[in-house]
Symmetry: C2
Subunit: 507 residues, 2 copies
């Protein structure tokens, strides 16, 4: 069998040194990485500060513009009659109420964005600054520890080097001691080999040989002792080397697997938590702005829900009583003390009146049927119009879905309302229907006006003919009648408001 | 009894005319009111258009500023190493991820506010314009009807006037006819009164008297007839007057109570409904903007929730493998073919080794107890720090509650974070604790490093002494041992990543 080739001391040392060199290089690299990580953090935190400083400006400008906008229109309305109304009682026409709430909303948005800007500047940015400080400080402290740990590690490696060298030394010595011993043993054998002489022996020769044998034995013993001593030393050195080797590997393992991550954790100490809080402050601000905005919009939505033509009409008529309060009834004015104040039905006029009553009756019947038809048509038309004006075409969510994609915004919006080709046609159609409605409604009014007049006469005749042949000459009855009429007028005027309210929107 | 004083014709006419004059004035007033109402509407709708046009500008400017802001930082980051990483795999350090999402959010806000502006300009304002057109058109049509109705009403009033006059005329006539008749009757009585003569009657006298009696009777009859005729005419006139009076009052009542509100409803036709839709379009846009914004914030919140030191640490170490990958184990290098490669425990060294093993054992016991103490302290300190850095001090809702009142914003914000007098003290306190923690942690590291070294030696000795008196000279065993070590190293390198991940944050 071929004996394996052995590494020379130099090779071993060289290998060891290159291994250590590698490690040292890594240690330097690690320090660099820690520095770099912190640099990146500080840079990120700087960017965040710049970002929020700039955004604070933008929010503040936005807030100012909104404030200006609200102010401009508030000032405009403050002078108006409505506004006096508004100050006096909150009882406004429902569209005007919406308008004021719209302005209030802009104000609220203005205030909230100012608040947002303020929180960025005086809270969020502050936090990022402090996190940046902390990172730098922590890096410094962590690097002190890192430095310490690396020094210890190098110590350990040096120790390994020393014990390895010692092992080499003692091992070589024990090898040389061994070979010297072997050599001594050979010489001894040679001496013994020259043993029994056959012819002519001289006395002095005999003496000389004995003394040299003694010498060789002495030397052999000495070399034996030396060898054992060196052998033991080299065993101990090897043991020490093996133990140190174990310790070294364990230290290296510990450093790379545990200590390094601990070091990184030291740099991180509180970084993520503080960043979390800073960003949550931002989120809290944004979410609160949103909530406030939402509350405002809900208020407007309520006002929009309660846009009501009927109550607005009543408010409108109440605003101008001189124009809309019904006048007093026209009273019968007896002429020159004429004491009869009701229709007389005594002969010969009674026949004529009865005939007239019957004509009125049949005329009314026909008129009512005709007008009922017209009314039906106009009401149907009105319903059509109301369906047209209450079509739910105001949902614009799609624009915002689109706006999340990369598509341009414009294109999407147009879809929602304008580009609906129907829009123009819809309006034309609506106006046509409107036209027709007004025509029908006018017919209906004429009809109903005629009916109301004839009806009044018809009813009066019916009453009086019913009362039949009562004596014309009756002061008391006049008294009664007058008071009766007066009562009607008063109650009519009293009930006016109530009546208005009770009226349906369009008959 | 005293007879009541009768109104003269003139008085009655005067009263009637003033009453009609009043009504006519009201009719004019009503037309004015309708005009005024529409003017107010058109003005309101104009204000709404101006308002939204201006707000659209503000929103667009806001959007542009946000876009610029996002772009500025996006450009900055696009170059960085992180960003390459980002493009490659989405696997970013958690804070960098938050930073990118923050920029995305600004972009989204920018887009959404642009959309908002666009909807204002191309949808909402359009609607208000159309409502304004409609109002004007409807007013025109309604006024036509109003005019018609008012004319009819005036006709009715004129008719009343006429019949009243007729009544007056015929009534006066019948009165005068009556008085003439009475006069004739008186004369007749006078004739009959000159009756029976007592002395000397002449023939021609007798003839003369008879003929005059006849004349008087004839006249009386004529006047009787005239009276009855006029009486009947006046009765009919009064009846006509009473019937027309009834019709008039009914027409007036109808006009004021029904027709007027119908007219106002005609002006309102679709006004409230269209306004409602216009405002709902605005609301829909605002609400959608809000939803989009909210979604964006939620994404950021998730990223903030997943700010994680541990996974960041692993990512960091993986980013620099040359720096953090553990080196190969140091191997035993046999010197000059030394065939023993493990600790020799044969006499005479064994005694010494056993003694050393025992010393290591007891030393380790003490060290471990001491270090455990230090560890406890440092861990406790760490917990304190972690409590400090995770304090929930980021809720800023109060700022927004305040911002709704009239109070200035500044004052309120300061309360939330800065003006907390503790803030400076808190930080000082935190740094002290940090200081102490690092001290303790350093002690702990030193201790544990020593322990790991001694432990390694201890374990090796234990193993070898356990193996006891095995022959030193054993090639096979060496072979086994070496392969064993090699295996360890390989697996260790393989497991590295896993190990790192498994590590707790700070031991």
């Amino acid at each position: 069998m071929s004996t394996p080739r052995f590494k020379k001391d130099k090779e071993i040392i060289a290998e060891y040194e290159s291994q250590v060199k590698e490690i040292r290089a890594q240690l330097v690299e690690q320090q660099k990485c820690l520095d770099q990580q912190t640099e990146m953090r500080v840079q990120l935190l700087q960017d965040l500060q710049d970002f929020f400083r700039k955004k604070a400006e933008i929010e503040m400008e936005y807030s100012r513009n909104l404030e200006k906008l609200a102010e401009r229109f508030m000032a405009k309305t403050r002078s108006t009659k409505d506004h006096q109304q508004y100050k006096k009682d909150q009882n406004l026409l429902s569209p005007v109420n919406c308008w004021y709430l719209l302005l209030n909303q802009v104000r609220r948005e203005s205030k909230d964005h100012a608040t947002l800007s303020d929180i960025y500047l005086n809270n969020v940015i502050m936090r990022f600054m402090q996190i940046s400080e902390d990172s730098t400080r922590l890096l410094k402290k962590s690097k002190e520890i890192a430095f310490q740990l690396q020094e210890d590690l190098m110590k350990v490696l040096n120790e390994l080097y020393t014990v390895m060298k010692t092992y080499h030394m003692y091992h070589s010595e024990s090898i040389s001691a061994e070979s010297k011993l072997k050599e001594a043993e050979k010489q001894e054998e040679k001496q013994i080999g020259r043993g029994d002489p056959v012819f002519s022996i001289r006395m002095e020769d005999k003496y000389q040989r004995r003394s040299s044998v003694k010498k060789i034995e002495k030397m052999k013993e000495k070399r034996q002792a030396k060898y054992s001593e060196n052998k033991l030393k080299s065993i101990k050195a090897r043991n020490e080397y093996l133990l140190t080797l174990e310790a070294t590997n364990s230290s290296v393992f510990k450093y790379y697997i545990h200590d390094l991550s601990d070091l990184i954790d030291c740099c991180d100490l509180g970084y993520h938590a503080s960043l979390n809080r800073a960003l949550r402050t931002y989120l809290s601000a944004e979410y609160n702005l949103e909530t406030s905005r939402h509350e405002g919009l809900d208020i407007i939505e309520n006002a929009v829900d309660s846009l009501d033509p009927r109550s607005d009409r009543q408010r409108f008529m109440e605003m101008y009583p001189t124009a809309f309060c019904p006048p007093a009834k026209f009273e019968f004015q007896p002429h020159m003390g004429d004491e009869v104040c009701h229709v007389s039905v005594q002969p010969p006029v009674n026949g004529e009146l009865i005939l007239r009553f019957q004509q009125l009756q049949s005329r009314l019947a026909t008129l009512k049927i005709e007008n009922e038809e017209i009314k039906k048509t106009s009401e149907a038309t009105l319903t059509t119009i109301q369906d047209m004006v209450t079509i739910e075409d105001y949902d614009v969510s799609e624009c915002f879905h689109h706006s999340r994609s990369t598509e341009s915004v414009k294109s999407t919006v147009s879809e929602t309302y304008l580009s609906k080709p129907s829009i123009a046609k819809r309006r034309a159609n609506q106006q046509e229907t409107e036209q027709f409605y007004f025509m029908k409604f006018r017919e209906f009014l004429e009809g109903s006006n005629l009916i109301s007049k004839l009806q009044a006469k018809h009813d009066l005749l019916k009453r009086t003919l019913g009362e039949g042949h009562r004596a014309d000459y009756m002061t008391t009855s006049r008294g009664r009648r007058n008071s009766h009429t007066r009562h009607q007028v008063d109650s009519l005027r009293r009930l006016w408001g109530a009546v208005l309210l009770a009226l349906p929107v369009l008959h």
